[in-house]
Amino acid sequence: MSQVRTNLMGSENNAEYKSASLPAQVKRQITQLFQGRFNAWLTRRIPAAAQHQLTSRNIFIMPTRFGFAYLFFVLLLFLLATNYQNNIIMLFSYLMASLFITAMMTSFFNLSGLIIKAQDKSRGHVDQPVNFVVTTTSPQRRFDLNFSFDLQNSVQLPLCSPGNNTVQVPYLGKTRGRFCPGRLKVSSEYCFGLFITWTRLDFQCQAIVYPKIKAINGALPAMSADFDSNENATSSNNGNDDFYELKNYVLGEPLSRIAWKQLAKGQGRFTKHYQQSQGNLCWLNLQDMPANDIESKLQLLCYIILEYSKTAQQFGLNLGTVKIPPNDGLQHMHECLTALADFSVRS
């Protein structure tokens, strides 16, 4: 899984490296070095687990920009008090400073003790968010919880009531494949926005990103009735079978079975059904997809799989290297789509 990711990312990185100037390269290397170190430390500090309870071990806390501005404001009050030799303003400024500490404690305890679980596997399409269900458990109320994966949109849970709460945290896949969204960041700026408390938890999440859905207008392309006959014949593959009946055309039926004569006579769109082929299994072939490049073909396949699954038709998938025998149902659909996501030319 991680190999796929590095393969995909690696080529992009190389291209960028060549174009970057020398100082930028150095800068990037330094940040990477630090990031690497930090991540290694993080792995040791907060190891991966299916469930995390937040304690002082895994909670980070820092003043926000507003927090620093607030401290500056307290200093300003102190100056005002000193210059006017005004004890009450002085007391005011001390109170504000002291409140800063109280706010820090409150911020910390807003996260501390929270138990977080996350769904470890989730699926979605390219450019559509893959949602991970995150469950928080706590005996008391928590406020202003924000959940996000690295560089992804965040989801807010304004109030986490006692008991269990769930949120769907999105991960947006830019390319198909299997990805690890990284650590889940849970952050909060409760109570006054002076501090940000956060934690970065590793649930070893995995996002399976299916190809984009490329819709086909009109009828679906042909699919071979039988895997073995696929190689030699496509048009005359049903010649030996006995014609059985004409049925009303249903979206998704192969073009080859359309009763063209009846259609030409204007009697309507029917499909020919043969006695023998009734129990036959359909195969979706990658090569058969009417597109030039592999990605588009996969996108088309993706659409067809979803359409077939909608009408609960049986189908098999043939990607050349990977073959999934015909079946139907949700599990089968996901199996096929996962195969599309995992498909690579080299393997």
């Binding site: 309870q53 304690t55 501005a69 404001f73 300003l76 009050l77 100056l79 005002l80 000193t82 210059n83 006017y84 030799q85 004890n87 009450i88 303003i89 002085m90 007391l91 005011f92 400024s93 001390y94 109170l95 504000m96 400073a97 002291s98 409140l99 500490i101 109280t102 706010a103 404690m105 409150t106 305890f109 501390s112 003790g113 699926r123 979605g124 399409h125 559509q128 968010p129 949602n131 005996p139 008391q140 406020f143 202003d144 949109n153 989801v155 807010q156 304004p158 109030l159 009531s161 006692p162 008991g163 709460n165 409760y190 109570c191 006054f192 926005g193 299916y210 699954s309 909608k310 949700l330």
Partner: protein
């Protein structure tokens, strides 16, 4: 169906994306913001000009409109116009307002205007901080206990606004209590810092408010002090260290006015210059005094003037030094080097029996005999007549006082107006006046008769507060009297008022004066209102005593007091000791806060329903039925139904409750009823087993 399964809830994601792009605050938060703005500005409203208040009102009204109809944002150029015109108006009036008030106007103006441009979280934060800053500046002008208490509540409100922003689901009352609690939790450390943290000298000169002068003026015309008598404001407070003098001895001298220009009494110019020079050269006049003395502490309220108060010959204790803020003037009055812009406390020794100026220079004599000839011809004639009758100065004084006593002179706060401040008219025709009338006429007579005399203004009396063992001297106790110089005696106080209205100098205002004062004063808490109601007066005295302690220990807590207090506790104060104390206080507070929070949060405790469920499971184990770990709760119910039919119904209900509690978001009330049901079922199972 599959699509929704795969794509998740798209609208939810979009909502999140929109949230980051457009800043929008919750409706309740918006109202809280508006109210906090109103409260904050109300605290400084007294200092703002009417036009500024009107502008702020318009801005806030617009803000209300914005809350109700979010689309009605002011157009950019209108906004700009408003900003520019407001700033120009402030700039134009700044000369008249003075720097401090101009800044305050600008602050309030931007605070009100900013609310119309609430586009990002940064704007919101800025508004909150600006609001807090306005509250802080309000404390420059007023620091009384009542004002500070109200201000503290408003601080809580401001933070409640901030808290509500981060927990919009909570009710306002809940948030207010939470903020109140947090501020209370912060108070110990703040107080500790207040006591321990070293007080620094001012870093630079700051502008002071130049208006709002209160109390006595150095230019007195008859009728002036009667105006002052309307005021119920506190002038200063006094605590006597050991014995208390009689009421009739409480003549608090503030100003000596020895120049009469025909209409009003003034301080002589060259004396002023000399006092100023004295202050410059730090060569202070130290009166040579001896005899028994009265020791007391005076806490003067900010008057935005310089003069201070003392009984007879008052010597500041310890002896005035070069850096002292108080100057002793040769006329035995005390004066502050700077304008008194906040409470000033000083220790004084008064020598009640010591003579004032046994000898008088010729220049001084001449000055105290001077009057514009012909300004009051009838009085001059009267003086000549008396002079011919009495050669002895004492006899002459007694004769004048006798006239005041015998003839129909009337003491009132509502004297008839005099034509060009004519003393003749008062003395011979109206015969009705306040202390300044009597003192002016008397001094004039004395001077005309050749006795050196001068007008002294200050306060007479004081209200004793048994709650705090101190005297409060209010503005309505302002008084004027005369000092005449007699050979061998020096300056002698003669108060014609004492003859006209003896009650005034024996015990204070008479009922008639109180009624007059109340009718003049527009204050609800006027004299008659509280002096006539016993319990109201008791409450007032109690509050006043609290305010006194507040003034003495908090407002007046000086660096000198701080050093004294700390060295009494910890020995000589060294920087490392201060640092250690602050560090210690800091860690103690942190630990206390930690414990306080920890108590509330049972971090690792099992939920009560899980405990109950586990109890039920252990009961079943006793019956030989154990729940496999991987089995779900509902599957186990089926198993129990099959193998232990006698407890089946109870266990099914118990499991149902458990599932609801564990997997559904129930309200607290619902949780309680479910847990109760679990208890009942558990008991039943126990019985059956």
């Amino acid at each position: 169906m599959i699509n929704t399964l795969l794509l998740g809830n798209r609208s939810e994601i979009q909502a999140v994306e929109q949230k980051t792009r457009f800043f929008k605050i919750n409706l309740t938060t918006a109202w809280l913001l508006l109210f906090s703005q109103v409260f904050n500005i109300a605290m400084v409203a007294q200092q703002l000009s009417v036009w500024m208040l009107a502008t702020i009102f318009i801005c806030l009204a617009w803000r209300v409109l914005l809350i109700r109809q979010p689309g009605s944002k002011p157009q950019r150029f209108i906004f700009l116009l408003l900003t520019l015109s407001g700033c120009t108006a402030i700039a134009i009036t700044s000369m008249q307002l003075g720097l401090l008030l101009a800044m305050l106007h600008l602050l309030c103006f931007s605070y009100a205007l900013k609310a119309l441009e609430l586009n990002s979280r940064k704007d919101f934060y800025q508004l909150v901080v600006l609001g807090l800053f306005i509250l802080a500046t309000a404390l420059i002008f007023k620091q009384s206990l009542l004002f500070t208490s109200v201000l503290a509540l408003i601080i809580v409100f401001n933070f409640a606004l901030l808290l509500h922003f981060f927990s919009p689901t909570e009710t306002v009352s809940h948030i207010l209590t939470r903020c109140g609690k947090m501020l209370l939790q912060s108070l110990p450390l703040a107080l500790m810092l207040f006591v321990v943290f070293p007080r620094l000298a001012p870093f630079w000169q700051v502008p002071l408010a130049n208006s709002a002068k209160t109390g006595l003026s150095d230019n007195v015309t008859p009728g002036d002090i009667a105006n002052l008598a309307r005021s119920n404001e506190l002038a200063f407070r006094v605590t006597f260290n050991d014995e208390k003098p009689f009421y009739s001895q409480l003549y608090w001298r503030a100003l000596v006015l020895d120049q009469y220009n025909g209409t009003s009494w003034l301080r002589s110019e060259d004396k002023k210059r000399r006092a100023w020079l004295d202050a410059e050269n730090s060569q202070q006049y130290i009166p040579q005094v001896s005899g028994p003395s009265l020791s007391y502490q005076v806490i003067a309220q900010p008057s935005f003037r310089r003069w201070l108060f003392g009984l007879d010959i008052a010597v500041v204790n310890p002896q005035p030094m070069a850096q002292s803020v108080i100057i002793e003037r040769p006329d035995f009055t005390l004066q502050s080097k700077d304008i008194i812009s906040q409470t000033l406390s000083y220790q004084v020794n008064s020598f009640l029996e010591a003579p004032l100026d046994i000898t008088l220079t010729r220049e001084m004599k001449a000055r105290n005999l001077q009057y514009p000839p012909g300004s009051n011809p009838r009085l001059e004639q009267e003086a000549l007549r008396l002079r011919q009758l009495y050669t002895d100065n004492n006899d002459l004084v007694q004769a004048v006082l006798g006239q005041f006593r015998q003839q129909q002179y009337f003491y009132t706060l509502k004297p008839p107006t005099l034509v060009a401040n004519s003393l003749d008219q008062f003395y011979f025709d109206t015969k009705t006046g306040f202390c300044v009338h009597y003192a002016s006429a008397f001094t004039y007579l004395m001077r005309a008769a050749g006795i050196p005399a001068r007008m002294v203004t200050g306060y007479m009396g004081g209200e004793y507060n048994p709650e705090g063992n101190y005297y409060s001297i209010y503005q309505y106790e302002a008084h004027a009297w005369t000092e005449i110089w007699l050979q061998g005696i020096g300056w002698k106080r003669v108060d014609p008022t004492a003859v006209v209205d003896p009650e005034r100098v024996e015990s204070g205002f008479s009922q008639q004066l109180i009624n007059e004062q109340s009718s003049l004063s527009d204050n609800f808490f006027s004299l008659s209102n509280y002096k006539n109601s016993k319990w109201l007066n008791a409450v007032r005295l109690k509050l006043s005593a609290m305010d006194y302690q507040w003034t003495k220990w908090v407002i007046g807590f000086s660096s000198k007091q701080q050093i004294e207090l700390l060295s009494r506790w910890f020995g000589q104060m060294l920087p490392w000791k201060t640092g250690l104390l602050i560090g210690l206080a800091f860690s103690v507070v942190m630990i206390l806060l930690w414990l306080l929070q920890q108590q509330k949060v049972p971090v690792k405790g099992l939920s009560p329903w899980l405990k109950l469920y586990q109890k039920a499971l252990s009961l079943l184990i006793g019956k030989g039925l154990e729940k496999p770990k991987a089995m779900s709760v509902s599957d186990f119910v089926v198993l129990v139904n099959r193998s232990l039919p006698n407890v089946a119904s109870n266990f099914t209900q118990l499991s149902d409750c458990f599932i609801q509690l564990e997997y559904q978001n129930l309200t607290e009330q619902q949780q309680k009823t479910q847990i109760k049901a679990m208890h009942i079922q558990l008991k039943a199972i126990k019985k059956q087993i």
